[in-house]
Symmetry: C2
Subunit: 332 residues, 2 copies
């Protein structure tokens, strides 16, 4: 079955080294032998074995793509962009689903077992210790959608969640809402904490506006719906900044089920701008996270770190912006 280097060498009447060199960028081969080899390889249907060569070169061109966000529709876009982006650079994503794992130790071992060149942790909910565990194991890593820190221990690419929270707060203020609220994801998620911080910060400058905070149990439709239903039974705010788009849609669902309208009775602003948010049926006003840029930068960074492992860890943050749709009342 498998055609090997040796087969090609024999057929072409050259040494295996010659064959190896024709398939190696920038190696020294004459045009004549190259032609002979290529002809033989074509005839035999030879394709080099990346894993065997990785043994000597130390590069597998495998990148571990680690995530636990297999329930957030945004991540379908994320996986699409990551796989395409990696493919375009001749790299292969080795997918790791961490949904049922809490400990990085297994995935680290796996990364080593498969000698990945680098790893990308794509998650807004995993703690920074995850990416750090990879780094400690000597695996070049970047944490995408991770939390910004002033003295990063690992590469981080994402958004400034505090700034986004502030942006959301200002959006509500500028629309004249007098009673606003933050409806976050799980309180322990760092992204939630940061968004709350920014939101409350913006409101601090407006003591005349009433603010409240609550947390859903997960970044999910159901959790958003449940939490908003709870709010409606008490004394709801006029407008909510929801921790993310899925949560927002859950909240909107609760509002409509209660016979209220959005934005006429209650306004909602989300975060992410996943494709679904633009669906006319949903038409969610939200803050766009520049997913493509984040992913492009993540790949760039992991490649750079693979090429220079001593590279200093870096943080790259991308600006977000409000996307005006139909779930907040218009500015006065």
């Amino acid at each position: 079955m498998g055609v090997t280097l040796k087969d090609v060498a024999e057929r072409a009447g050259v040494s295996t080294s010659a064959v190896s060199r024709t398939f190696t960028e920038g190696a020294s081969v004459s045009t004549k032998t190259r032609a002979k080899v290529e002809k033989a390889a074509l005839a035999l249907g030879y394709s080099p074995n990346a894993l065997a060569s990785s043994l000597t070169t130390g590069r597998t061109k495998l990148i571990g793509l680690v995530s636990n966000n297999f329930h957030n529709p945004l991540f379908l876009e994320v996986f699409d962009l990551f796989t395409r982006g990696l493919q375009d650079r001749g790299l292969r994503p080795l997918l790791v689903n961490l949904t049922s794992e809490i400990d990085p130790v297994n995935s680290v071992r796996m990364m080593r077992t498969y000698s990945v060149d680098g790893a990308i942790v794509a998650s807004s909910t995993l703690p920074p210790t995850f990416a750090e565990a990879y780094r400690d194991a000597g695996i070049p890593v970047v944490h995408s959608f991770g939390r910004y820190t002033t003295a990063p221990q690992v590469n981080i690419v994402g958004i400034d969640n505090v700034a986004c929270g502030r942006m959301a707060g200002e959006a509500l203020i500028s629309r004249g809402y007098k009673r606003v609220a933050f409806l976050g994801g799980p309180e322990r998620a760092t992204s939630t904490q940061d968004r709350a911080l920014g939101f409350l910060g913006a409101l601090l400058e407006h003591p005349e506006i009433e603010v409240s905070v609550s947390y859903a149990s997960a970044y999910s439709f159901d959790a958003g719906r449940v939490e908003m239903t709870k709010q409606l039974m008490q004394d709801p705010a006029e407008a909510y900044f929801c921790g993310d788009d899925v949560l927002s849609i859950g909240a909107i669902s609760a509002i409509k089920e209660a016979g209220l309208r959005c934005p006429e009775d209650i306004g909602i602003i989300g975060l992410n701008d996943m494709q679904m948010a633009a669906w006319q049926l949903i038409n969610l006003t939200t803050i766009r996270q520049p997913v493509a840029e984040i992913i492009g930068a993540s790949i760039d960074l992991v490649v750079a770190t693979v090429e220079n492992p001593k590279r200093h860890p870096e943080t790259r943050l991308f600006p977000c912006r409000v996307i005006e749709r139909g779930t907040l009342r218009p500015k006065p």
Copy 2:
């Protein structure tokens, strides 16, 4: 960085063979040496190199997971289940995104370059020739969500799309709709053709019911919305069987935008039952595709074919059923 077999052997004071054997299931090692080796391995933090061993064993435990459905929310569930299912069996998914590819030749070469043990083509829109190209290259393969054929050339796991079409037709008939329609995905997709066939077949027994057929340009929200808008400008049917859930949601959006109500004015039944279909905001009556079973069977089949490459190709179809929600009027 990398701790090798030799390092462990040296430290444990045994041969490399002994170390290799302690890490090989069912090999002959005494308890004493095993203990020595394990102690040394632990102290050194050794983890075996799967790629090096694949050279001699011929197994990488890598499974190519090939898809082009990176825009259908159902596939987030699909990827979640596939990655978890493969992981549970000690296999690793190597993700291949075919979105911008039409020719299998590149992905086949890639599979060989990485010596995958097998491949799973997860797509309802890729033609059967794709999976066949893998099989021709000697790669054990199963086509998940593929089309049923009586004399399969490759393993196929999925649903009986004709039966689903019939089921949808019967659901509409039983609710007393007198003018019904099929709003399919792209006409060239085999799944669309089969669903149309089944749907029309069911209606054949009811000549008193008026039937029409149209096709959206893609399995997407926008395509569904555009096509339904077109329908509404002419003379719409009372109820539509949409080719899939995303298409259905697009259609519902168009209906609401036109100031009509679903199901009071127009009924919709979808296909897939992706998680979102159950969201109260959408509450789509649809036909459930048993995704978890399909994926479990796909993994079983690919593993079985890896273990016995001469295994006869097999088709496994799973029954679907109607999930009653709120987008069809109730049965009389």
